[in-house]
Subunit: 365 residues, 2 copies
Amino acid sequence: MQTICVKTASAKYDVVAGSGLIGSLARRIEKIAGKLPRRVFVLTSAPIWGLWGQRVQQSFREAPVVLFLPPGEEHKTLASVEKLLRHMAQAGGDRGSLLIAFGGGIVGDVGGFLAAIFMRGIPYIQVPTTLLAQVDSSVGGKTGVNLPEGKNLVGSFHQPLAVFADIGVLGTLPDRELRAGLMESVKAGIIRDRALVRFMEEHADEVLGRDPKALEKVIAASIRMKAGVVNRDEREGGLRMILNFGHTVGHALEQATGYKTLLHGEAVGWGMVAALYLARQRGTISRAQFERLERLIHLYGPLPPLKLRAAKVAAATGVDKKNVGGVRRFVLPLGIGDAGVVEDVTAAELESAVRYTLGRSGERS
Amino acid sequence: MQTICVKTASAKYDVVAGSGLIGSLARRIEKIAGKLPRRVFVLTSAPIWGLWGQRVQQSFREAPVVLFLPPGEEHKTLASVEKLLRHMAQAGGDRGSLLIAFGGGIVGDVGGFLAAIFMRGIPYIQVPTTLLAQVDSSVGGKTGVNLPEGKNLVGSFHQPLAVFADIGVLGTLPDRELRAGLMESVKAGIIRDRALVRFMEEHADEVLGRDPKALEKVIAASIRMKAGVVNRDEREGGLRMILNFGHTVGHALEQATGYKTLLHGEAVGWGMVAALYLARQRGTISRAQFERLERLIHLYGPLPPLKLRAAKVAAATGVDKKNVGGVRRFVLPLGIGDAGVVEDVTAAELESAVRYTLGRSGERS
């Protein structure tokens, strides 16, 4: 078990990564928050709750009120939020209530947002059940939902009281989701942690084989990287921007495919390939580094093939919400284990990076 | 012109009260926020914008994007919020955008909430155009909307960059709204400012006659009282609770009348009568103080008559969201200019206070 402390301007809390956490969840929460309040809510999805609900519930003396969010990005909406908030009000929720988000990234984002806006803010706990949520979305306090106009356009920064990343629940995670989640760990290594890059290169079999020790090491290192960045920059003033490595083209790919054919981690995987190509062209990484890092991405693949036109993808980067005032920002690696932000990427550079990426997808499919 | 500084744990900003502010709004905002961003949004309502929109717009070099919220509590919903957020996204809003809430309390609450959750938070300016909004809702950073289950059950704490309370725009405010808004000033005096109580007693004619000097004095004193409380307690830990004087029964009256027959300030006026009666019964104010304060409330009336059963009103206090863990909290004045919170009000005490209030309403109607 490893504990990583997250410190932001507005809050301080622990992220615990280890095995067997959910069986003692109530006791662990009481250690942090004191006696449990009159109303504890659990937001989850039916498939996840079917697998783990009983074990979670057994740790509580009084059964929590369980709220269900149907699986799928299409339910990450203000309409779902309204329905759930009404349910909370009807069930007697008040300002002292506590919410536990038990599920993947969507449950975490929606659960955090419910906690952020119910009665103008109640405390909450993140219990991420996918690898992606464990290493990425459950740390940093970003919460929110989509609009028809774009993903995550609505939300709050609301830090949890604690995050419990239970490696045991990953046992039932589909292989594709495991691999997609590991893309965020690859990202963590490339932008901030050389040792993690090496570990993931050398222990791919154990990691993909879900060896608990190997997984704990990768997950804890990924969380530690993100916590380190968030600690210094809660609201994306500058440093936090580097966490978007692979995300500019990644989001464009998700958008161009209607959020249907790619998992988020897979889109980020291809987005990193594009960013690496751009970095190689600009000389911020060497040819050898480029090849080594692209190999690492495919080691944790396979990434699904892309059937898209380069111009369409390049155009889709224009609506990325990271573009403050219309500037096209890009995170590029500086060697291995460091990264910086550039704002002067031209349309031509972008298109050639996208073209390379689509070409690689064709070769590998 | 008077400037009151609000300092909370999360922000520091000025509330400016005076005449002729909206004609120089853009320049005033630039003095605080620097150069205006690419997209400035104004949330307002059609009647208010019809009266003052041109004057506001003339102060901007580039016309802001105007968003309209239909008047009425029934539009203070998540559905309205979603529509407005989509409009903002479609109009090219980004994280650097600025929102101006130009209108009464509902526009302020919804505008602040839009700013709190669009792109996980953008800066905003409050320009309250009703007396109630000027003295109460525009200070303190409370934002939000209603659910069918109750008022203001959803929202955020999000502090504005500045508040401009223009006394000039009160010229077109209906008399009934002016009087209702002044109930919050009466409240301010009772719980925290003896001098304001005296001023309002001695200058009722000037205040109700909209003499700018008298109004500025009452408005600035009310804002100063609220700012003083919010400065010490942003999130209603303890002290801020006293701002709810008159609101427990006030909210119950609003709810029992379906939010249709009473303005918020009027409900608070009757709620203060009930709380004063309770305080008198418990001896936290003398009989003379009770009579003096009740007289002051009616001086700024008339309050509309109430046609309700006492039991129904008393029951409606049970769902007040201030009741953490089911305790029935009440703010009671301690003499004139001070107040405290009690948690042990019995159902019988409450009912007799409500019965007195309904009786007074009958005598006066």
